[in-house]
Symmetry: D3
Subunit: 317 residues, 6 copies
């Protein structure tokens, strides 16, 4: 049974992926385990009150477990009270991918779509620079999410974010002729790339922590340093390198969101809006897709606590 279908008062037997695990002590002074379990449809808190054995060794994050549990309610949320638990075995033939929320397009396919856009560039220097950066990140890019908990916090989410932005960039630079598509594509591909070094993520696309450099400098500054060095090594035209650094610097647009400069070129301005559109469309679709028509959502934290409306004219992806 999928997590989103759990009903209070019933009992469930199912496989779930352990997302996090904490050994705690109950008010009766006994150890218990506090889990976050997940499948492709969501997450649920679960308690194993009667925990025995080597609690540190068992049921660790990244493992799949089979649980029998009663579905209870705590405050506004569903919670599992685990009756039985064991680790999954080969004979269970569980498919790991069924437990990890993942972008709807295959990672290699998306990677190749980026290559297609690089190929369309007129400037040889631009091609050379973007390709070199891209290839140096390929391994991680195939599974990295775009964020810890906001938009595109899924496996291959960063790739998916880039791809949809590239498509928008192509469409809009067809309408606005004052845009140099080479610059815009480069900005799209590189703007968030250093999130890979700002956050530590598992191959399941889950961010576990921010890195030391990520906290002290942030992905914007790290990205600028990276472009600066690689462009110099490849002997790329310095104006071109500077413009890309400026686009990375300014793409959050407002100082309080991390950009000390606003865009001074149209490609930087458009990059910002394309980025916003992709994030907002993702978050709104996620909030609305499982709702009934003519209902309002609960306040959505990442959208300024707005309560979105699902009308009878709504569509979902």
């Amino acid at each position: 049974m999928f997590i989103k279908d759990l009903k209070v008062g019933e009992e469930v037997t199912a496989f779930y992926l352990v997302k996090s695990k904490n050994v705690k002590t109950s008010s009766a002074n006994k150890p218990y385990i506090d889990f976050t379990l997940q499948d492709i449809t969501g997450e649920v808190n679960a308690k194993l009150w009667d925990a025995k054995g080597d609690l540190e060794a068992l049921y660790n994050p990244g493992e799949i477990v089979k649980v029998q549990a009663s579905v209870t309610q705590w405050q506004q949320s569903v919670q599992l009270k685990i009756i039985k638990i064991r680790q999954s075995e080969d004979s269970d033939q569980v498919d790991y991918d069924n437990f990890i929320p993942t972008a709807p397009i295959d990672a290699e396919t998306m990677y190749n779509e980026i290559l297609y856009y690089i190929n369309k560039m007129d400037s040889a220097d631009m091609k050379k620079l973007v390709l070199a950066v891209l290839e140096s990140y390929k391994t991680e890019l195939l599974y990295y999410p775009a964020a810890k908990s906001n938009h595109h916090a899924i496996k291959s989410g960063l790739l998916y974010h880039i791809i949809r932005m590239l498509r928008s960039a192509e469409a809009l630079s067809g309408i606005y002729k004052n845009i140099n598509p080479d610059l815009l594509y480069a900005g799209v591909i590189l703007h968030d790339m250093e999130k890979i070094n700002e956050m530590d993520a598992t191959e399941a696309g889950v961010v576990e922590t921010y890195t030391k450099e990520g906290q002290l400098l942030g992905h914007i500054i790290m990205g600028i340093k990276r472009i600066d060095r690689i462009a110099e090594q490849l002997n790329v035209d310095s104006e071109l390198s500077l413009l890309i650094q400026h686009m990375i610097l300014s793409h959050h647009y407002e100082p309080e969101f991390g950009s000390p400069k606003k865009p001074l070129i149209p490609e930087g301005e458009l990059l910002h809006y394309i980025d916003m559109i992709d994030a907002r469309m993702y978050d709104m679709n996620k909030a609305l897709k499982d709702m009934d028509d003519e209902q309002f959502t609960d306040p959505v934290f990442v959208l300024d606590r707005r309560r979105l409306y699902k009308s009878k004219y709504s569509k979902s992806e």
Copy 2:
């Protein structure tokens, strides 16, 4: 000679359109006329010091005059000191259109492109409503600007704004499948329509003043009232009318820019960003198009006083 080509110290003889005219008194206590003259390339202040005749009757806004003048400098700006002036005559064969900055696409063509998008709508109610509103504004829409002094403050500027937004709307609703194109097109076509009643503009596309209702309520509120009444008259589904009203209400996004509600549906969110993109691309292109490469503009008021950069990779429309 075009206004943008005037050089301090030279003398010029040319036809210009009178944009504004004020009769004033000089420090020597004599009457003089203070003009703003324009042609398709810009505007210039001009003084007629030695003014004779019925000053109130002569050389009024909207008329084309022939002037002989010396080109002087006042503070940072070029100024004309008029030596001779007369009204244009039929025999001059001046073409009025050479003096009025106008959208680069023919107005009727743009109007028909709107009809094309209305035609693509699935919902009969939506078609009926949008068409009724559009047709009721047709006469003014063909020449109205989109603003008094900001983006698209040109003849047929409002139409041009709508057309480019519709094209973006079409492209982006092909990428973001959670968008109902009918709703988005309707929002684009109607979001600024009541600017026609908020501002009084001449047929040359120049806004002269804000109307009483424009100042006391503003085009957002006026637009909502208009949709509300027409939808009722046409018996349009009330949810549909309500959604369009909500999109109009929320399209400025922030309370301090006039929207008491933020968008609660994805189509409203996207409408806002498409609107921003079109305004910003217009303003940036205008600021950069006559610049040399590798130069910064003066601070651009409407872009938070940013000094934009024209790189060697820049393109202009």
Copy 3:
């Protein structure tokens, strides 16, 4: 025993009104009911741990129940642990009004006081318009609160809010002769009227939810549309209708509180301040009235978390 007199450690037997009810599951995996009970002096949380029977059907909001309970403490608050519960019966002869906080003046009396002010108006158009709107809302107006949880969130609270503002309006327009009392009275009577359609309230004056149109447009926009239509139907002078719409639009004063325009006429300015005074006097009296002298209240959420002071010179209504 009144709720405000409950003491931790004692036992109580009393009648209370069910304000809300939720069926939940305990940590021991058994169903229980979580109530909010109220009487005229306040509200208290109550738990029925040993719940039997058809829990969905029993003890619903709006019903009066008789409970025997022990008074316990949870965190900083008093809580009831229910020992026995039953629904009230005719033979109990409970008076529903003893359980509902209500404005201190009779609703019909207040309604008539509004009519008295309408009668004093000089302008026949104004009279006609205000009277038509008022009468169309009469049924709901007699019991509607003015808010969900802030000032005047009591039965007939909206009427009480209007009445006290009318009295202030009369007094202040006697002092400030640049005020047209007709306009000010009309603004007072109509400024919040569409709260009746923005919020769904029970006849006990309790708001249960915001309506769809309330969330997508809000009572200010809804009020403007209503005035606009009715004034047109009644053939009211358009300037007069416009001024009232402007007063409704601007009465929250700041964009971030929902007014895209600030008042441009003195009557709108004064309306705002009269509205603020009535709300603040209500909230401050509520916070202070049961306090001892020379004490500070807990932080009052609706007053920016201020801790009010009850001095020995304080008075209560």
Copy 4:
């Protein structure tokens, strides 16, 4: 001829009061005098180009002069070019009061109205304290304005401000029974009293400068110190003194307007709103009273640059 009736292009001979005078040097390197002249209807800039004699000694502020001048225009404003000027003489029989904007009620009458309100107080301590403070300021209070350039910047303007606030205080404490009128009257009478020591004003009610203590501490802090000392000398109940100090401290309400604490008692809250109402009604009446109907004013600086509307339903004081 009154200043407000001057017409560009005409010549005028009239008496005016010198408000300010500066001796300057012209571009032709000759001395001239730059005046601000005033009468009861307004102010006008005037130039005496051909200045002879002891320029420092002649035509100083506070003197009345007779001028013959031509009325010219400079930028948007009317300006006088003085042809002849002389000081007024006894034989001219000019009435000084015709040149000074003054509150519409006689100063002694207003002072007595304050005494009337003090007399109504129940608390002997309050009476004693307020009376002592009031009497110590009587001389200045009779002519002081309430501000340098904003509301009530007229002779006896501070008294007029107090009187209208007291009337509002009386009316509103009749409606809101949780208000102690003694406290509110005391707050009204004392809240701005130290403006007398914060600003240096002439007997014509014109503020010339801020004092040293005014700039380093401001009238709010100065007022608190004053009350603190006098209350101690008079042996007034300390709670009462503290409450008045708190009302003075909090009456500007927002930190950025000078109040480090918000009101914690209802009388302080109401004092703030009564103060706002009186200032705003004064400023709005001043901006609108000489306008034609159905016109908007120029942006009014002190009202957040709003352009007020004078409707056909407007009234003026």
Copy 5:
């Protein structure tokens, strides 16, 4: 065992100081005691479930108790479940000072260091004034903390804050010759002195509550009044008194932090920065001192929720 060394799952027997105590009722409807216990290394929550005897009389704040308890975990924090508890006895020979976080320098020594700085002043009036104020506060100053929960919330914390600021003042006025050290020392010594009357603290340096005057006026206003009176009594030069009052008024710098005026003299400007430096160095040292290298702290509330970094180059006091 020190509180910072407690480990979940172990049992502890130790003496602790009772910081706060609340008698509550459990879900099983039995009374229990909820303690905050402290020693010199920190604080811990403790529950006495099986509480017997006169619960109001036993184990009150300020007493030292001996407890036997098991160390458990609740949410993210360590908690004690008390097995046995008794009050400390003379024979236990516990040293009260081991339980109270105290400034690292002896109070009398610090007091004498202030006298040393007063002695260095050139101005006799300044010496006289500062000394008089200092001596009038001596008793409380020896143990008062500088805050309820932020920086220097320890016994003698206010003295420690003053001392370190005086040392900075001395060093910086040696570098910046436009600073009058007399004024700066006076400002440092007096800026927070009225915190002693704003907050009620125990002799252990723990703030229990804010006073009435503290809440209605605050220590800045109270300090100004105090200086004003004492300076007058001692016949101190009025300019000097005014400057000190201005420094107290402006030392929080921003209106929203309580200063209605910004510093208008360099000594006031520098006082603000010295104050900030001392507070921030204290808070940062406290947050980092027990951390391992190359770790980030949890978000620190008083430092805008920053997560500080302890590098391998870090030093602790």
Copy 6:
């Protein structure tokens, strides 16, 4: 005669340095030159109305001219009307240094003082890194100002800013033992170094323009990139390089002033405050040093338009 001693109405003959020069056209349509002239005491506007010869070639910025001029007044300012002008000749024996505001300490001396602080560092890596950066900038550092128009906008102003900050850093790290002086010194020396590449300045210490990279990235980002590369080349410990980059990134403290991260280490926090103190002491001393006692300055733009007070207790550098 020094510029600060010019008196309106007199005539002057003196040498001044041309700071800027613009050829303009008068209202009589004749060319004239608009100068800014300077000496060590200030700047003055000057007009050469009767300009003859090759105006583009003559009297350019950086040259010293001898002028005979009458001193006139324009608006609030003194202005020179040039009667005669010629370029200075060798025989005039003017000393260039008398015309350029310069830091009060010799540049080489200051440079050596920096070396002294580097020498005190414990960490060999830190020494190596800071020294390498410093030496690479030595030529420009000897004359660069610290800003275009704010604090330390004088010749060698950047050096002077660094030196005074180093002295404060030494003093305060003696008081606050949780500070690593090596890190703090490094931060002080390097925090603004890239201003040298952000702004183009003449050897007279006058900034003429911002560079392209300066406008697109800013000195903070440029400084981080520089440290990053040099540290890598020199094989400096990466944690140390990262900490210095973080200190540069965070030293403006607030996002709206250019720092996307706040300091996460105490040395960064202290660097910010030392930087503020030095800038503010400089600006305040500059504003007050030529004032009479017991006067207020005009509003000082760079100090939030505060009007500073010069008391009789003030000192100047």
